[in-house]
Symmetry: D2
Subunit: 356 residues, 4 copies
Amino acid sequence: MSANSIGKNIVLTSFGESHGPFVGAVLDGFPSGFTIDLNAINRQLQRRRPGQSALTTSRNEADEVQIISGLFEEKTLGTPITFLIPNTDQKPADYNALKDIYRPGHADALWDLKMGHRDYRGGGRSSARITAGWVAAGALAEQYLGKINDKPINICAWVQQIHTIESNIPNNVTRSNVDESPVRCPDLQTSKKMEQAILDAKENGDSLGGIIRCRISGVPAGTGEPVFRKLQAHISQYMLNLNAVKGIYFGIDNRTHERLGSENNDSWKTKDGALGTESNRAGGIVGGMATGEEITFELYFKPTSTIKKAQRTINREGENVILEVEGRHDPCVLPRAVPIVESLAALAIMDLLMDN
Amino acid sequence: MSANSIGKNIVLTSFGESHGPFVGAVLDGFPSGFTIDLNAINRQLQRRRPGQSALTTSRNEADEVQIISGLFEEKTLGTPITFLIPNTDQKPADYNALKDIYRPGHADALWDLKMGHRDYRGGGRSSARITAGWVAAGALAEQYLGKINDKPINICAWVQQIHTIESNIPNNVTRSNVDESPVRCPDLQTSKKMEQAILDAKENGDSLGGIIRCRISGVPAGTGEPVFRKLQAHISQYMLNLNAVKGIYFGIDNRTHERLGSENNDSWKTKDGALGTESNRAGGIVGGMATGEEITFELYFKPTSTIKKAQRTINREGENVILEVEGRHDPCVLPRAVPIVESLAALAIMDLLMDN
Amino acid sequence: MSANSIGKNIVLTSFGESHGPFVGAVLDGFPSGFTIDLNAINRQLQRRRPGQSALTTSRNEADEVQIISGLFEEKTLGTPITFLIPNTDQKPADYNALKDIYRPGHADALWDLKMGHRDYRGGGRSSARITAGWVAAGALAEQYLGKINDKPINICAWVQQIHTIESNIPNNVTRSNVDESPVRCPDLQTSKKMEQAILDAKENGDSLGGIIRCRISGVPAGTGEPVFRKLQAHISQYMLNLNAVKGIYFGIDNRTHERLGSENNDSWKTKDGALGTESNRAGGIVGGMATGEEITFELYFKPTSTIKKAQRTINREGENVILEVEGRHDPCVLPRAVPIVESLAALAIMDLLMDN
Amino acid sequence: MSANSIGKNIVLTSFGESHGPFVGAVLDGFPSGFTIDLNAINRQLQRRRPGQSALTTSRNEADEVQIISGLFEEKTLGTPITFLIPNTDQKPADYNALKDIYRPGHADALWDLKMGHRDYRGGGRSSARITAGWVAAGALAEQYLGKINDKPINICAWVQQIHTIESNIPNNVTRSNVDESPVRCPDLQTSKKMEQAILDAKENGDSLGGIIRCRISGVPAGTGEPVFRKLQAHISQYMLNLNAVKGIYFGIDNRTHERLGSENNDSWKTKDGALGTESNRAGGIVGGMATGEEITFELYFKPTSTIKKAQRTINREGENVILEVEGRHDPCVLPRAVPIVESLAALAIMDLLMDN
């Protein structure tokens, strides 16, 4: 067992290690005859790539995707689409020190225990680098969602909180608003504070977590299945497979559990001749199905586990050691995680839409 | 598409409507030769059944399970185990008023839109009644988890918060501690306040949500797969399919995203010759795999959507109406949801354990 | 692992042992709002049931199906449909002699080896009795296929050969033609010979195999997927899960491998404005997809393994013994297998049609 | 829907078109720590590659595999293994004539109908070229099967019949016996006749089909699941996804359906302290599970559909035309199909073994 595929109708199979020649993905089930916009895919990859600002790891990868199957004359064939992203800026020597020492909060100890054999150069399959393939595939799914219906399905994620710094962001924010901030927090004053907090953490050899919110509009009412394929369960399955995510909360905020039923229920109403709700505290989901209103949720990210600060841990022999990690690590993954969240959302929604 | 099965190795298929003759489940993949304890299954069903106290709906069901396949001479055959739970206390007349009116926060509007045909008597498949089958199957899975290893896998859930009433519960609480409280909150002083709050909500025709915490101990280190079958994603998929759950958070508390990396990382250590961690802020999961420490998470429940208080909504013709629901509804589902959470946890863990 | 479900879009989950209270099935994924014809389901069950003629086992079961979920006001709800068929004419005492002796050609030795625990009363899950649930579900799928398109999808199977007795049957034979023969061989003169051969085998305590052919018309061109879900692979997966089937051959006959390419290819032509072929040697499938012509295949059945004649075998202790089986067994399963083949065909086709 | 993955525990995902840069495959679920023998993989690829003798297409591909993920220091990581095989000898100009004409017996008409967009250069995904990825993955699975148990699992396939030329081959034939014949028919006298028949067909612009037999030894008794994952159904699902295969028959020969039960049953016996059978007419499978004896089956291949001889057909406008195909095609695919059958067998068996 290893489980590197996700989805039922549109299946993403992820492959590649952070220090092999490529990371990549196969996307199976994508409809035929769709004209892809390769630039748009690369734009999302650029938002995810390392080295894009002082806030991220200094590992520098071009992250230009190669598509080696599934396209003919720029249109999809209805066959598997394979994405390759070369690993070009590898410095495995940085990792030699980690070969025999288990980083606190990191999967390497468990890989050794479970697999008995591990690529210690940069995390292998546990590296966030493998999400480059997810983003390429998800960016294509997004293009599809933007064109499938008269009313396009639109996805936008942003940084809502870094460490304890909360922001105030109107729900109708756009992706270009988001990109005005290097932190991807479109409350620009707060963004400055977050930026400084991240740089401080970097300086201190420490790391920060936070909250990303995501909004998906245009999902047709009735999307999702009412028992074991509820819309919220399906999205959660995708999102909780993203490394640093520790939790998810659906709805307008994270206080639904503290409201009375009479305060929380969204009254049904007729909107432009279709079903709608007066308010949208539910975050666009009722009984496991989309109401047609905006789907909203937030994700809780832990601080990056790999930090420079000295930490107690053990080595492969089980002996107590003090670890001081060198190498190039993100002090805060949230700015780069925004396009990953959008991509996973696109894949999750597309998979459910194709049920019908 | 309908999607009434969950699990890969141990597959739960749920069937039945709240006002048909039975609700039930088929559990496929359960090992052969296991002696089942039918009483233990019925005990969990009793903890879930309606009518068990003044805090729950007055619908009164015996909820004694019948097992019609998969057993021979009280041992499992390694064939599908089918559970039937009769629906005995149906009062469909209560629901006639709801035939043409859409309850705010309830799935009936979306069933009509999606399916075109709906059993309006009590919610059909969207009724929490169908979880009786899940609890029967999960209670069997729990028995298995209790015997598979030298160190038994033990699951315990409890009510941590009702509405805004928080409690203080030591992590080593047991199921019998939990059952000392009719609310299933083992902080007995706080339990009294919760009890009163629920009765008040009932009196007011309103409803309350809250938080359930769950602890799973004994899960072997390495359980879970590191990419698209992460332990936290698998548990989330099961839990977010439970009707009123709006969110999940893994770890010792729900503040991981506000800690520094240096504050949050759990140092590895050698424990009784095996891998362990000094602290367990991570809630027993690193890189998608169990660390061997206790797995902990909490679930956020919305307040029950069906309430007596007058609400604005629409009818099937799309006209604005005022709804005042009669019928027998829970003012707060959390006390009865505790065994459901435990059962889903058992099924999720057993499914992952059988990967190997 | 046990694997009692089949299908991706329309999922059949089979449960029950031959000597438990019921055998049954859950059918998940069936569309909502479909008015079912319960009589038609029972008619197919009657064609499968034991005791219908002197040619079959004398076990006598009414085999009237009960549907306990998924229906409301005689229409499907789009929720799982659960079929129960009571086991009424059990004579487990007949099987006591088999408790410790392994029948040649029968699964009981392997159940003991694999599961360590077995219901020895009549084969448990290896009994053909469990196909009653398949037939109920398949008969419903057939109703759906008959109504989904302007041109109904029609399935007809018949006995083509018993032992070495070959028949000559025109391809446009109907189910009522088939039922004119107790053997379900619509070449009535040959049917008489087959009937006699079966009675002779019964008299001799022996058993016979043979060939069933199946024709499916009306399947839209393009049904089936071109790589790992080819129409022929999907049908084969269903059919080879039927106990006595040892092989399958697609096409107008079983000699395709002995023709030249120039003799075998079916020329494309335009038929009523749509794609068609001049001949149909391919049996309606090219490149894994339906051509729109009739799909035809045949199945090779082994002779029933349980016979009265004395046979060498071993007991549970591994000692050599001579076995003379008493009990009620079919000397030839083919007449009763005809509706099972039709039902599996209906489920396989419906599953593929729902891909789109 | 497109369905390019097969397997539950060891999942093969196939990708690539015949005239793209690569064909390839991802193999997920392979255990970690296994030292792979790259030469052995390339040897199987050489047996499949075009241009290996005068009997095959003159398309000439080196078919050396590149492994771009899943390996570290020559051992598997327990992560997805990705195989790339470059397409080097493409002559797409050969196919221009086929852009608008539908070949009889070929999938191109149905691709146009189903997908609306097709890579007309050489068949795209319907080309047998994509099986290079399957063979690479299957050859690795074979290595695993050879080492997993004390008694290695061994697979050998051979050509049993070409057109109407039957051969006589002892069941204990080896792969090196098979490779003494360019036809891969180890009855060397008959092989000569087959060779001549193939060359004659080529000369005539025609093609031939035939029979391949396959033997799998060493599969542990009890492999396979007794209901919907029967060993024979699982193997059939894999084999019938191979393009030219029209049928399959399990057992010592293809006459089981014409034997009496008393002639056909294999008596159980104790063999070296374990379960065994006196004879093995069943081909090593009873009740869907391996008996521990050799598993044997044969496959019926149609003659290659693409031939030079003039044929009637239609073009994309639906007009009648005469087609005379140029290009490089195999007059008989069986010699090259032998390693593909072995690879699919290896993958099917490994997938079932990993159930436990």
